[in-house]
Symmetry: C2
Subunit: 116 residues, 2 copies
Amino acid sequence: MNALPAVETVPDDSRCAPAVPPALGASEAKRRAIVFKALADPNRLRLLSIVKAEPSGAACVCDLTEPLDLGQPTVSHHLKILVDAGLLSREKRGTWAYYSLVPGALESVCASILAL
Amino acid sequence: MNALPAVETVPDDSRCAPAVPPALGASEAKRRAIVFKALADPNRLRLLSIVKAEPSGAACVCDLTEPLDLGQPTVSHHLKILVDAGLLSREKRGTWAYYSLVPGALESVCASILAL
DNA sequence: CGCATACATTGATGGTGGTCGATATTCGGG
DNA sequence: CCCGAATATCGACCACCATCAATGTATGCG
């Protein structure tokens, strides 16, 4: 259910630049929307904020459950979404799982907004 | 262990600055998530892209319906969400409705990401 | 006035997402 | 080897969202 000739077919844009991008392709838009979907929840924004504010740069689930007033499965669920979006990284140490910001991830999202 | 006394109560932060933001308050997070919700849809990203790419800086609904392969009511719906999020502005001229980017809106979103 | 155009609104529907309770998994300790 | 702690996964429920068809509104034109 989509005519849309070949505007969004940019599979091999490993070239220099599109010069004049014909707006935004459907597949590209869908890919970028994933990151924004990850950011489109108040609790996930707070999770990112807490992790970023952590002096050690990392936080485990048990430290994130209480300030958000959410159940542990829910927090794990949100963290998984943030990891899948490429915003957080997970490192398991013993029984604990430490989450930390992916370096440059927020800057990358920022760039994708300005490059609309 | 964290009782979280009254960290997120920032109803009247019309003051200068929080100095050291204690992570992110619930109300602030909810407010910021609205903009990201608006960006969390592929078709809305494409709408923003098309409007931004327009030489005149504005586009009417009839110009946006075809490239997205969506019905006119759906496009109007998406445009309303983008306007409510403060990303687009609407200007009615005759029978046509012209949508254009709010100056500085994208930069503002970018800043809110980096200030997490 | 009457009609066509451009857009917004409404109602309905199928799909997605956030939350929780229960359960599974994995690891460290006695 | 068994037990408890920390976390992930599963199943279900409820709310929200994207989409469309139908209708409403307003503007311009003859």
